[in-house]
Symmetry: D2
Subunit: 360 residues, 4 copies
């Protein structure tokens, strides 16, 4: 209840600081009998890890996950799956110069206000390193969803002012991993990559937008009032470091449409399936999936750590200068794609299990 | 756990259908000793209720709330507060023509897919009428927050394509209730009102944006990982009917800013308070409040019920025409202002109580 | 989370004080499609209500339940079921003499210590009147269980020192309602009834034991670690007013048996069902049901309200005399049978739904 | 939600199987600023571990705990505390002979029924080895409680038919650790030890009772309805392997007392503290602590594993003989004392934090 758990039936609890001994996650609620594909989990972690390309931080973290429990003879047993990732490349001394300073737009000051003290090394618990644990858990959620034919695909659709102005339907989503940016449009990806390199050279950072599409979700998942499917997706996305906004279906732009333009007409397919001709609803109506593609967009601000001097204060309230140091991401988007995918998987896996209790 | 509860320590459970016997809410977790101001609760319901002006639905619902428990001699006792609102103006026969039809962009089909049946009268549980219960509970949350000097103010900042292009800081928020639209800028309010009347005349509906500002929240509320303060606010907003998007602080627009532009510098006030010179963070850093104003925006699509014929299918999968009837809102925004205020209050009241467990 | 909710998937929240306006319950999570039998619910309330016989309190409470939501055309809809019972026979002035006194072994002092104030009329929230709401909800749980062939039967097996020393297997459980005590053995029931009348005449009260048997629960319900089926049953029973102890299967007496005597041997029935020859396990092994009868015993102390003078203190800490007045139960057991039945039903219904998430 | 978590604000999630890679626990909700005493945690684990004396199993498990997160510079940070214990002395081949057999009164069959498969080695998740993780977490809870002057002491008060027939008030609880049985009465401890050795020699096992006393708990902890303090204690105890019953205060024996005998009179101490002259309530009234000692008793059955042949069936439903092998406890009580202490600590720590939300 202290905020490091996610989900109700497919429930995870993460732990670990950026420069502590290690981090990890416990999944309580994964059904028994699922083929446990450790290679897939490791491959998802590889998509998130630092040092994977020249447009991300050059920190080296192997992020090798060790499974402690809940798996037997290659299958999940239904009991909690404990996974740990030990920290290795901890250059904690890199942080000695800021131990009592509040870095602008970081969580240093708010942690201090909340807890009275904090592990200042690399942001401690507020570091995005925590998301490695989520990715490991989300990859297990993906295994569950895959079993039911559901797939989730996220990609970078905006970097700074460079916008990929196409619907996901007009893109070849198999090309997401074809470049370092994780934008499936090769041409736009090249422009985005150039922008990130320019920003890095300036010792600065930049934000952007990630678009996510989930296909194969059957009609009937999600709850009608507070735990609407898109509300849970929204919360999950907003819980990712640096995320500033979430919209699904027609989103903010759709508010200018009249009802007669926005409504999605129903029709029946030859096999009897009820479908909609358009999908401004984003696959969710009244908080419950309708069987169409679920799609949404998430905004990420520029990373707060920059390689420039900034004015700030320290714990004593004195004026100080925060000097940029360390190895940081000029743009978090390429790595965040894996986090978006796996947070979405955690939400869907939870509602997959919850949907089983609806009827006699 | 079936989705009709909100909050962890200040926890509410709502119940009730649009055309059932009544609706209500139980608040479990309101601290003892709070002055219980029933007039205020009723005044918040009045801001949400139908028939309050010519730009909203002309249904008549008195929404008189009856308090069954948890209050003694004018104060909360710490035990659950049960409140009910009985349904009165139920023209259920208005809905006979659609009992087996799936209205476009309504929750008819998804409820059917999820539960195998549904109370079709007025949308049943999926009706925004459910939000009356939330408003009653949220008003109690506001009483708690007010005790700690916290105030929440929402207003309509966009209707269709008509955008109020000013920061909340440049508006006189005491003027929100001065017009039917609940836009504090009188000039823009008049334009918005005209737009809504035009849309109504066309038997159509239109969406918009509501901006919300919470002042007085102390530093240290919110949890660092999944239950970030803005993540809980986002989920709460997205759980409101017709809400399609949420952004806080610099939001989607802010992604184009570089870190050096976006970061909020800290400084110390004369009284020793740590403040930020700018507030692109929207009062929240690392998921925890920093003492600055909290502000966010929520997008609402046009209402799905229109007074026009629409093609659809029925439960048997046959093609049908859905004919627009009944008394509906041309634009949900003016009434939704009260819902946004009170959902925000529920989130903040919950984190107010949760923050007490942080330290020895 | 403030303690007035029960269950995770079949989740209820109760509210209401003894002498407030009314009390009620919200059930969030009852599956859709269940035949809603209001007569049965009302009949369960009748088994709990005061004034039903000469061995219980002579207060008159009709306990007529009103269903506000969640039911449509005779079936549950899957949305929250709200039920209220209005208070009528409130002789609140009966309590004026004790408004600032702490009655011995009541919750007056602890409520005061916890909340700083309390609704002193009839015990307020600490009154067993709250259990009417549980019984209404539990009756719905029974409807769900009945659908799956599960039945729950409780009976009085001890009053004071009078012990019914037979296994439930040697009793005709159809005779529970045949007498006012709710003990299925007519001879013992008569002795118990006499004891209760003797105690009443002395202005005193007496305790006892209720035994409960659930038949038809399939193997596989319950969770292996903290949420063991018997742990949840135990908590549910201990949450009933005046309950002091819980034991299942061989219980406290069984601790003297050696493993070789206590173990339940498995065998296979002709139809392939795995069974145990004995059932010292009480139908639960490792926290999970094994398909055998589930049985347990609960101890209830004598009611704290007696018609005698008692020494105590008031809120100011001064010595006072508490004078016994009002209409109270000489023995809570006959009415508590309905509470035990329905609390057990709530636990089993919850695990019924939870068990659906175990496997792919 | 799948049953391996405990607590609402001081919340733990355990994971790990008897013969898997390792086990562990995440504590989410421990307040910041607590002195973290790893030696104390390790000493609590030593009280639970196998091989500590000649009357417990001779398995060797070092149970060295490794802290991965949530502690910085010797103090808790308020973020999740992750702890792991790696498995070492895994003689998994000891279990080859029972891989498809259902051992009598074990959880083999119920796990099979629930999950369709199971890790059969040493009982997997159903093994009491899981309680090592609880003890580690409970020791942290004890550190929190100790900070507020609260102490918890459990001891063995019955082994088989040998009963220590004294109140905890007439015992010197500092002598609990003075013998291997953990019975503070040296004379009775010697008799109990002899009984355990006799039972072991017979290849058999025996049960007993543990009594627990918590002192220093202030008035006002616990919730009035479902989450009564003793209900949560009861559930916690019943969640321990082999526990068959729980009673607090006067318990089962108290049901024979009349109200006039059972009620605890209040009086005021010189310093103004409200006290009771007797304590049949066991320190809890209406589910809320009253400031007196909290005491309760828990029944443990004999261990199911015996070194004798037993008739049973296998997964195919065939008759088989289960042959006793391995290194097991003749009596679980001496080791369970540490588990009772620490489960009680977990419950009290949770209510310590919950009590902070009661009032303005």
């Amino acid at each position: 209840m202290a905020g490091s758990s996610h989900g109700k039936l497919f429930r995870i609890s993460t732990f670990g600081e950026s420069h502590g001994v290690g981090l990890g996650v416990v999944i309580d609620g994964c059904p028994a009998g699922l083929d446990f594909d450790l290679d897939f989990i490791q491959s998802e972690l590889a998509r998130r890890k630092p040092g994977q390309s020249r447009i991300v931080t050059q920190r080296k973290e192997e992020d090798g996950v060790k499974v402690l429990s809940g798996v037997f003879e290659g299958k999940t047993t239904g009991t909690p799956i404990g996974m740990v990732i030990m920290n290795k490349d901890q250059r904690s001394k890199d942080y000695g110069h800021i131990f009592d300073k509040f870095r602008p737009s970081h969580a240093d000051y708010t942690f201090h206000a909340k807890y009275g003290a904090r592990d200042y090394r690399g942001g401690g618990r507020s570091s995005a390193r925590e998301t490695a644990a989520r990715v490991a858990a989300g990859a297990v959620a993906q295994l569950l969803l895959r079993h039911y034919g559901i797939s989730i695909k996220s990609y970078v659709s905006q970097v700074g002012s460079i916008v990929l102005d196409k619907s996901y339907k007009d893109l070849d989503l198999s090309q997401i991993e074809a470049n370092d940016v994780r934008c499936p449009d090769a041409e736009m990806a090249a422009v985005m990559e150039q922008e990130i390199l320019t920003v890095r050279k300036a010792g600065d950072t930049i934000g952007g937008v990630i678009t996510c599409v989930a296909t194969g979700v059957p009609a009937g998942w999600g709850e009608p009032v507070f735990d609407k499917l898109h509300a849970d997706l929204g919360k999950a996305m907003l819980s990712i470091n640096a995320c500033k906004g979430f919209e699904y279906g027609s989103g903010f732009a759709g508010v200018t449409m009249r009802g007669s333009e926005h409504n999605d007409e129903f029709y029946t397919e030859e096999d009897g399936t009820v479908r909609t001709r358009t999908n401004r609803s984003g696959g969710i109506q009244g908080g419950i999936s309708n069987g169409e593609d679920i799609y949404f967009r998430t905004a990420f601000k520029s990373v707060a750590t920059i390689i420039q001097d900034q004015a700030s204060v320290n714990e004593a309230g004195e004026d100080v200068t925060v000097t940029g140091k360390g190895r940081h991401d000029p743009c978090v988007l390429p790595r965040a794609v894996a986090i978006v995918d796996n947070m979405a998987a955690l939400v869907l896996a939870d509602h997959c299990l919850r949907a089983r209790a609806n009827r006699l």
